[in-house]
């Protein structure tokens, strides 16, 4: 938590005393007190613009209505947010906006989470008094890879223009003409091309900028949302996953329809990058949901439930020297802090395994803003836990190895199948934990389906060392289960310090144990 340096002062909102931070605005102070003041042009990422005039409030001693978004609170200030004058003014602003606004709601993608629609409802304005001809404008202007601008729906809040000026500094959109002819536009031949374009559809308070990735695929009121963390790079942006809870009557092609940014001033502000926003197909495509057995394993049928016992037995059967040199691990950094910790405890500390490799996607290029060069979310966590991030060396991997425990689907992208097969053929027993199916499935004896970050609980350490917890948003598909469960059972199974492992009934418990062992993971506010 950021330290509060500002003094608190007392103000009155709708006659109720409210504590407000000195120097804050009426709008923020009200929000803090749970009072919503309608606003359209104001966005917390930018200085107040003051142009929509939606946030007018009455302040004792001021002859005119004042803007909540820009007026700074003063000791003893008396503000009414619901007086008749205020309500009339808001209605007036809405009436103006409605006058030049198309009545598109039934066919508008934003319907359901449109601020304008919300406010119309709230103030009971359904029919326009406006009987004149509306201004004609561009209804379907393609302004970027997947963005469409409807100038008739635009209320000229300029959030989009300011975003592109102040955040991406690319100035792809501008306001052309003036007065009632003002319109947001791109320059001919140019378009919004930056890795943050998707934020525009999100900050547009109305349905003027919509995202083709989402457009018409579903309606927003069918969707549920859950908080998660983007795993597509080591920034660890906070996100909302919007998914279809599904109907009992028919199958949906996919669960996840949209990723949105979730505010976190310390990590990603209000934004996420386009890779994180649009790269969500892995959540539904080619998901592993059943255990795969390519080689008969003794008498018993293997299941996800008994897999740890089975692995435990296999390992126990190895001589202690073979444990150290005969076991190899391939890990990756989509694994949570807790999972990596368990792996470190079991294999590195207890079994003294030497051959530990990491198979992540190859590094990309950072974009200078949020996107980092590391395309996985927890490399820093692995390092803090004590792993040396060695990339896979197939020769060293196979050399003298009897037993391979591999995690993740990424190995397949790193080597040709011929080389992979060549190396893996030399290893007697090989087990893979993977969330998504690919050619690796046929190369291992057993493939255990596992949950993704969106489907389990745990924590990640981002590139700057910020540890962020996450909770499951989606159900893990089929039989798949989180790795931390298998691993803590495995720990128990190996009986090395069964008391230690038996306490690990949740990632939370693991993390708190980690804090005791590794100062880095000690909770900051403990």
């Amino acid at each position: 938590m950021q330290e509060k340096t500002n003094e608190m002062i007392k103000i009155f909102i709708d006659k109720e005393p409210v504590d407000a931070e000195e120097g804050t605005t009426v709008l923020k102070a009200a929000e803090r007190a749970g009072i919503h003041i309608p606003h359209l042009c104001y966005h917390p990422a930018f200085p107040p613009e003051g142009s929509c005039r939606m946030c007018l409030v009455e302040i004792e001693g001021f002859p005119k209505l004042e803007l909540a978004c820009s007026t700074v609170v003063k000791e003893e200030m008396k503000i009414s947010t619901k007086s008749e004058r205020v309500v009339e003014a808001r209605k007036a602003v809405l009436e103006f906006l409605l006058a030049e606004h198309p009545l598109d709601c039934p066919i508008c993608d934003k319907a359901g989470d449109c601020k304008l629609q919300d406010y119309y409802d709230e103030y009971g304005l359904f029919e326009s008094q406006f009987k004149e001809a509306k201004e004609k404008r561009e209804k379907k202007l393609k302004i970027g890879k997947s963005l469409i601008l409807d100038q008739e729906r635009c209320i000229l809040c300029t959030r989009c223009v300011r975003f592109l000026k102040e955040v991406t500094k690319t100035q792809d959109l501008g306001v052309f003409h003036r007065g009632v002819h003002s319109s947001v536009n791109i320059y001919e031949g140019a378009s919004v091309e930056n890795n943050y374009s998707g934020n525009l559809a999100e900050i547009c308070p109305v349905g003027a900028i919509t995202d083709e990735d989402f457009r018409f695929k579903t309606r927003s009121w069918f969707l549920k949302e859950g908080e998660s963390i983007c795993p597509l790079c080591s920034r660890g942006c906070n996100i909302l996953i919007e998914y279809h809870p599904g109907f009992s009557r028919f199958e949906l092609p996919k669960r996840v329809y949209r990723i949105k940014a979730r505010e976190n001033p310390e990590v990603n502000g209000f934004w996420i990058c386009d890779r994180g926003r649009y790269g969500y197909s892995y959540l539904d495509e080619r998901r592993a949901d059943q255990i795969i057995m390519n080689k008969k394993e003794g008498e018993n049928e293997l299941t996800c439930e008994n897999i740890s016992r089975h692995l435990g037995e296999k390992i126990k059967n190895l001589s202690s020297a073979r444990k150290t040199s005969g076991i190899a691990l391939i890990l990756h950094t989509w694994l949570s802090n807790e999972e990596l910790f368990l792996l470190h405890e079991i294999f590195k500390n207890d079994l003294k395994v030497e051959k530990i490799f990491f198979a992540d996607l190859p590094d990309g290029e950072a974009d200078g803003f949020l996107l980092t060069s590391e395309p996985s979310p927890n490399r820093r966590g692995a390092q803090e836990i004590g792993f040396d991030i060695k990339t896979v060396d197939l020769g060293a991997l196979a050399d003298g190895t009897d037993f391979l425990l591999a995690f993740g689907p990424f190995l397949s992208g790193l080597f040709s199948s011929k080389d992979l097969r060549g190396a893996l053929d030399k290893i007697k027993t090989k087990v893979l934990f993977s969330s998504n199916s690919n050619e690796l499935n046929s190369l291992f004896d057993v493939v255990i389906p596992v949950a993704l970050i969106a489907e389990k609980e745990g924590s990640l350490t981002n590139v700057e060392g910020i540890v962020q917890g996450f909770q499951p948003v989606l159900e893990p598909p089929g039989e798949s289960l989180p790795e931390w469960k298998v691993l803590s059972d495995l720990g128990k199974e190996l009986g090395m310090d069964s008391k230690f492992y038996s306490e690990f009934t949740s990632p939370e418990a693991i993390l708190s144990e980690m804090g005791k062992k590794i100062p880095f993971f000690k909770k900051k506010n403990d």
């Binding site: 100035q171 501008g174 052309f176 003036r178 320059y187």
Partner: protein, 157 residues
């Protein structure tokens, strides 16, 4: 061919830019020069000005479309701007415009086919005591009536 400023104009622009602590502040003066040299500010001229100031063409477009003095397409040799605001209207600006429409055979906003005249109606020109008044290019003419305007227009080559 994309437009280019003469060396002399470039010098002049440098001088203007030096007046301001921020380069972009020179944009209106530069646009006036551009308008004067090229007769209009289309995309090509926008890009030229953007290049000189190190800004994006879209920023130039935002300005050019805000102010009324930078037409996108070239106008006639003589731009007749008739004031249609109150003092001039009171004294017959409406009839005066009708007279010009008939005489030139074009409506406000249009240019004669020979590209000699463009006719516009504009807001108050700040010469209300001389109503009805008009501007041809940057010259003011007041107390207009058909006879006077005939003389003026006939005198223009």
């Amino acid at each position: 061919m994309s437009p280019e400023f003469s060396e002399k104009t470039k010098k002049k622009i440098e001088e203007i830019v030096a007046r301001y602590p921020q380069k972009e502040a020179a944009i209106l003066p530069i646009l006036h020069i551009t308008q004067q040299e090229f007769g209009s500010i289309s995309a090509e001229e926008e890009k030229l000005v953007a290049r000189i100031l190190g800004i994006k063409p879209i920023s130039v477009r935002e300005l050019v479309t805000f102010y009324t003095m930078f037409p996108k397409e070239s106008l006639g040799k003589y731009h007749i701007q008739v004031c249609s605001n109150l003092s001039c209207s009171l004294l017959g600006a409406g009839n005066f415009v009708d007279y010009l429409v008939e005489k030139l055979g074009i409506k406000p906003g249009e240019t004669t086919p020979d590209k000699k005249f463009t006719l516009s109606t504009v807001e108050c020109l700040g010469a209300c005591e001389r109503a009805p008044c008009m501007m041809i290019n940057f010259n003011y003419y007041g107390e207009m009536d058909p006879k006077k305007v005939d003389e003026i227009l006939d005198g223009l080559k």
